[in-house]
């Protein structure tokens, strides 16, 4: 039976195609001059360039972290190209009609039509292709509500005060090696600003696509929710199937001011590499949000792609009564490795956090949950509940749990529950006895295991995530 399941897990990666688009790509290599050129390509003001250079100099003094439970060959940062953009984007198309049809076709093929009339009603999209944002839809409609949703490069130009105030305020430049690198070379990503008391009228989403070979993608996202506002944001990611590994080192910062709520969902489906671990994306991402008084940040992630994932979406619960949530499904198969989890830093009084992590490992993959819950001495009455469940498919994979708890306030309560289970032969047989083929059986059992997380995703995406798991598990049983 295990064998059957393993075979069912041989997956087709449907987003693995390459678009034939003429691009302007920097030669591989990284030095101050490259950073100046990136900054120049983006027409950035001097302060932005200085900020990048400072980060770069910091990065040079830092060391790549090795504590995560992942193994990969040493990355040569001089072999990577740090900028690539479709040539057609050079003269900044003003509207969709001016965007290269090949680019639009790429997104359509990925199931993300960018023509507003064809889109999911109620979802605005920023489409980032390699190092640039191709198009951001529904901007006028959002502007009516005072919501700003635009590429971050544009925000630097148009809203410098907001960017200066908040960029690097949640994830400091020297927070960690990959974050520092991102600060130096980031190219595009989304900027969101929700004014005071405003409920964002649509779901916002950014779709990241890596297309060029040997390039890294260094996206930067900044979301600011003013007092009493609400926004739900989703990101999706895919990349072509290539034999070389590619680096994706993103930084996402969320700022939830008093009483604001940010719901941030990710469906990550970067190319995972082949069965033997050849190729795939290195997904080294820093995501963190800060909650002021009575604010709430909720991270939901469905991670099915990437060769190596290193990612810990976190919440700093600074304000009193603020709430942090982390709901995660991480599926690894083949030779994939994931080390993911969260950090909940409780500073304010009566702060609350919930962590629900579902790790599914199949094939020869390794799946680790790593989480930190810190109750500072100021966090009187704070509470955390953590639940980590691992599901094993087959017997060659690994699941690991690394929970860290630091409590400096005796009134704080931290609860932790962990389970490990297998897709059992009995469950598989029950499904088959009722007429389901083994593939459907596995995906149904896995979907059931993930239910608590899927129900946190926005409706449209919950369906998509379920399908994604189904595709990911396709061929895992024969």
């Amino acid at each position: 039976m295990t064998e059957q399941i393993d075979r069912a897990l041989q997956r087709e990666y449907s987003a693995g195609f390459v678009s034939n688009i003429e691009s302007e790509t920097f030669a591989p290599g990284l030095d101050e001059d490259v950073i100046r050129r990136i900054s120049a390509m983006k027409n950035e003001p001097e302060w932005m360039l200085e900020w990048r250079l400072k980060a770069y100099r910091g990065w040079l003094e830092m060391e790549e972290p090795t504590w995560a439970h992942v193994h990969y060959p040493k990355i040569n940062y001089q072999d990577i190209s740090y900028y690539s953009a479709p040539k057609s984007m050079k003269d900044k198309p003003k509207s969709l009609d001016e965007v290269d049809p090949e680019l639009l076709a790429t997104y359509e093929k990925l199931g993300i039509p960018l023509l507003e009339q064809q889109m999911l009603a109620g979802v605005a999209v920023d489409a980032v292709f390699d190092s640039v944002s191709v198009v951001t839809t529904f901007r006028e409609k959002l502007a009516e509500a005072g919501v700003i949703f635009c590429p971050i490069s544009e925000a630097i130009e148009k809203y410098p005060e907001l960017v200066k105030q908040y960029l690097g305020s949640v994830v400091p430049q020297r927070d960690n090696y990959f974050a520092a690198l991102n600060c130096a070379v980031f190219t595009d990503g989304s900027f969101v600003y929700i004014p005071k008391g405003t409920r964002c009228p649509m779901e916002l989403s950014t779709y990241f696509r890596i297309n060029e070979q040997n390039t890294g993608q260094f996206e930067r996202t900044l979301i600011i929710a003013e007092e009493g506002s609400y926004v739900s944001y989703l990101e999706g990611c895919t990349a072509p199937q290539r034999d070389e590994n590619q680096l994706h080192a993103a930084v996402v910062e969320l700022v939830a001011l008093d009483g604001a709520e940010i719901k941030y969902s990710t469906v990550q489906n970067w190319y995972p590499g082949d069965e033997n671990g050849k190729g795939g994306i290195y997904n080294f991402v820093t995501k963190r949000g800060i909650c002021h008084n009575d604010a709430k940040i909720s991270w939901t992630q469905v991670e099915t792609g990437s060769a190596v994932t290193w990612k810990y979406p976190s919440c700093i619960l600074k304000g009193d009564n603020s709430i942090g949530e982390f709901y995660s499904v991480a599926l690894t198969r083949g030779m994939q490795q994931a080390d993911t989890g969260t950090k909940m830093i409780h500073l304010g009084k009566n702060t609350r956090s919930t962590i629900i992590s579902k790790g599914i490992s199949a094939g020869r993959s390794n799946n680790s949950y790593r989480g930190l819950v810190r109750m500072n001495s100021s966090a009187t009455g704070a509470r955390n509940y953590t639940q980590c469940d691992s599901l094993l498919i087959g017997d060659q994979c690994g699941a690991h749990t690394f929970p860290y708890v630091e409590s400096r306030n005796p009134s704080a309560i931290v609860e932790h529950e962990a389970t490990t289970s297998k897709v059992s032969d009995e469950q598989m047989f029950l499904c088959q006895q009722r007429g389901l083929d083994p593939e459907k059986a596995v995906s149904m059992i896995v979907n059931g295991f993930c239910k608590e997380v899927f129900k946190e995703l926005p409706m449209e995406f919950a369906v998509e995530a379920g399908k994604l798991l189904e595709i990911s598990l396709e061929g895992s049983v024969g």
Binding site: L430, Q433, R434, G435, G448
Partner: protein
């Protein structure tokens, strides 16, 4: 419709069925009784194609076609249903989701139109009602936290929905209270038809008061050692199995 000839089955390195013969014709109800460990569940698992049950000899045909070469799911789609002795839980997968997927898969294999959600829901509610399970059970995870009796009733509910041709009930009566026993029996009786056959594995004559079998067989040490009509069950109830040990195999059953 189901013809089992000289079936020999091994699990791991132990031979459990040692030459079992059984003919089940359309519309018949066969009861199988026998001591613990004699191979009754093994027979159900083997017929339904559970991996790990190695057929070492003999044959099984269904309407003349070789059953043993089919995958488990194809046997189910061909109309074979097993009500499990110990139904397993599938956390997070709702009963409804599970049943709809099963029905869709079976209908697809039979070139039938999928059932509309509305018809499905109606049928599922009716089936729940028939086995005395509140409709809320449709929303709960498959067998998740169900009591022993609820699990058994849920098996019958699935049978009512899937409308199989051959139903194998493996001790569906054990662990049931008197009312539930009647519910299960009524479920079976309501499904009796000239086209549908049943193999009912039980330890208790009591069930057979409600479900009148056409034949009763005694399975012992991997073989059917005695067959008879429903009076055999009464005899067993009074005398146990020991007296059968020295009996020759019944005629026509070797």
């Amino acid at each position: 419709m189901l013809s089992i000839k000289n079936l020999q089955v091994r699990v791991e390195d132990k031979t459990i069925l040692k030459g079992l013969n059984l003919e089940v014709k359309p519309g018949e109800v066969h009861a199988i009784m026998g001591p613990n460990g004699s191979g009754k569940s093994t027979l159900g698992y083997t017929l339904s194609g559970r991996p790990g049950y190695e057929v070492e000899g003999g044959s099984v045909t269904i309407d003349g076609a070789d059953l043993l070469e089919l995958e488990a799911e194809d046997r189910a789609r061909a109309g074979l249903f097993l009500a499990f002795q110990y139904p397993v839980e599938i956390p997070g997968v709702s009963n409804m989701e599970f049943l709809k997927a099963a029905l869709d898969a079976q209908h697809k294999a039979q070139d039938k139109e999928p059932m509309s959600s509305r018809d499905f829901l109606q049928a599922a509610r009716a089936a729940c009602k028939q086995v005395n399970l509140p409709a809320e059970f449709l929303k709960r995870g498959v067998n998740e936290g169900f009591s022993g009796g609820e699990k058994k009733r849920n098996e019958i509910m699935q049978m009512l929905m899937l409308q199989p041709k051959i139903c194998i009930l493996d001790e569906t009566d054990s662990g049931l209270d008197i009312d539930a026993l009647q519910v299960v029996a009524n479920g079976v009786n309501s499904q009796r038809s000239p086209e549908r056959s049943f193999i009912v594995v039980t330890h208790y004559q009591r069930l057979l008061d409600y479900i009148k079998p056409d034949f009763v067989h005694v399975l012992s040490d991997g073989k059917i050692v005695k067959s008879g009509d429903s009076s055999l069950a009464l005899e067993l109830e009074q005398q146990g199995y020991a007296w059968l040990q020295d009996q020759p195999a019944p005629a026509g059953e070797e």
